[in-house]
């Protein structure tokens, strides 16, 4: 019943496209992260104009589908002669770069919100203690705020990373041959939907599983309390007479 030869053929074909998916994910993850920090600093700015801009950015990129953002960049920007004749055109003509750009811009909006939530959760006492020790603003940010913020942001950030992996599938719509794109190609050629779907789903699930494990590892590393707690806590003896 199950055609193992076809399954293994499909799996190999799809695995061959894995570097493209991974490339999309990693570059969008890094660019998006850096961009998110920029947006976060604008969002927390005291100047109305800057925080308003960041607010608008987050609203627009979270409020519209990634697919339309991607098409806007890939097909839309070519409408303007200025862009077609400028130095950026050789880059914007490449579907891969457009996909990375759209993914980064979109994930940056989500990540900025996650980071903001984490930043607001940093206990005020920690910051005050740092200031009381005479730390400079930069030192305070580096030693106190950033590590705590990162720790708080991790759970939501791992979810965002999974969403980003899933979003890379959209790149196949602008002719980037990632795992989903190749899967769709094989389905259209063979019409054996289920087998191809199972293989592609397995690849994505494995990828996501690895990412979740990496985040869990990082979370353990950043939580000293968990590391120490390996020794069993001494049981509290009930007081006599209770």
């Amino acid at each position: 019943m199950i055609d193992f030869a076809f399954l293994s053929y499909t799996f190999l074909k799809l695995s061959a496209a894995l570097p493209v998916t991974l490339g999309l994910f990693i570059s969008a993850f890094l660019c998006g992260g850096i961009l998110a920090i920029g947006i976060l600093s604008l969002r927390m700015s005291r100047w109305r104009v800057l925080s308003g801009f960041a607010r608008g950015y987050i609203l627009v990129f979270r409020g519209s589908p990634l697919m339309i953002q991607l098409f806007l960049i890939y097909y839309g920007l070519g409408q303007f002669g200025v862009i077609r004749h400028s130095f950026v055109w050789p880059f914007l003509r490449e579907p891969f770069i457009c996909a990375v750009l759209a993914l980064s811009l979109c994930t940056a909006a989500y990540t900025a919100e996650i980071l903001r939530g984490a930043l607001l959760a940093v206990p005020a006492g920690q910051v005050e203690a740092g200031l009381a020790c005479g730390m400079s603003r930069w030192l305070l940010l580096r030693r106190i705020i950033a590590p705590i913020m990162l720790r708080y942001a991790l759970p939501a950030y791992s979810t965002e990373a999974i969403l980003l992996v899933k979003s890379t599938a959209l790149a196949s719509l602008v002719t980037v041959w990632d795992v989903t794109g190749v899967a769709q190609q094989i389905i259209q050629r063979t019409y054996r939907t289920m087998e191809v779907f199972v293989c592609a789903a397995a690849i994505y699930l494995i990828l996501n599983f690895i990412i979740v494990q990496l985040y869990a590892l990082l979370e353990r590393r950043l939580t000293p309390a968990h590391r120490v707690a390996k020794k069993p806590m001494p049981a509290v003896k009930p007081l006599a007479g209770e």
Binding site: M67, F71, Q79, T180, Q188
Partner: protein, 238 residues
């Protein structure tokens, strides 16, 4: 600007009707997702181990693979299945599955995996004593569900539902690959025939943004309305 007019040579009418299709599609998907999601939540909270595994497996699979892949599965696979059934009953040739239903089903099943999580969290947020009190005064199970669980779970789930709804709204853009003329597809058609890609995709994005903002507002209203009853009750307790 004349391109967006509602006249014979404008695209306004198409885009407006497409926005309605998007809204309808997302609503149907949300309802399918609500049914699936409550099933998933019930399975995850069940005392039976295999049911818990089933619920867990469902949410891992549908939250872990790209939405586009699920839509392809249903679009190509669904048509194949219907063709197979058709051949059994003597029809020959390829029968295409109704794209709207296929799209709504795909988005709904994805939405269901997220809604399951929302309902589960909402159920767990409920104080244990409430159900125990209801059992103690001898309420039958279905009445506990109807009078105690449902009203409170809905209230707790509402903020999460707002997120899931927005997600479904945005996921519905992906259904355009099956050829349904919803907002994304309409923008594509208009952009392709006028060659004003940027303009029409921008208009499409703006429409999505409006839908998101309006539904956001509606959810906030609903939250404060449901929260009002809550507040007066807790105020009475103190």
């Amino acid at each position: 600007m004349s391109l967006l007019s509602f006249g014979a040579d404008g695209w306004g009418r198409l885009i407006l009707s497409a926005a309605c299709t998007t809204l309808l599609l997302s609503l149907v998907a949300l309802m399918i997702g609500a049914v699936v999601g409550s099933g998933v939540a019930a399975a995850k909270l069940s005392p039976q181990r295999w049911l818990r595994w089933l619920g867990e497996g469902y949410s891992v699979v549908f939250r872990g693979i790209p939405e586009l892949l699920v839509i392809y599965l249903f679009y190509f696979g669904g048509s194949g299945l219907i063709t197979l059934v058709g051949q059994m009953f003597g029809a020959d040739g390829f029968i295409e599955a109704p794209p709207f239903l296929i799209g709504a089903l795909a988005i709904g099943l994805i939405s269901g995996s997220y809604q399951g999580e929302v309902y589960r969290a909402a159920r767990l947020a409920l104080a244990k004593g409430e159900v125990e009190a209801a059992v103690a005064i001898g309420m039958p199970r279905w009445r506990i569900a109807q009078r105690i669980l449902l009203p409170q779970v809905v209230r707790y789930a509402l903020p999460g539902m707002s997120n899931v709804w927005q997600m479904s709204l945005k996921d519905s853009a992906l259904v355009s690959v099956t050829g349904i003329v919803e907002l994304m597809r309409a923008s594509q058609v208009a952009a392709g025939s006028t060659r004003d890609y940027f303009t029409f995709y921008l208009v499409g994005a703006a429409c999505y943004l409006v839908l998101t903002l309006v539904s956001n507002h509606a959810f906030r209203r609903a939250e404060s309305r449901l929260g009002r009853a809550w507040q007066s009750r807790t105020a009475a307790q103190h």
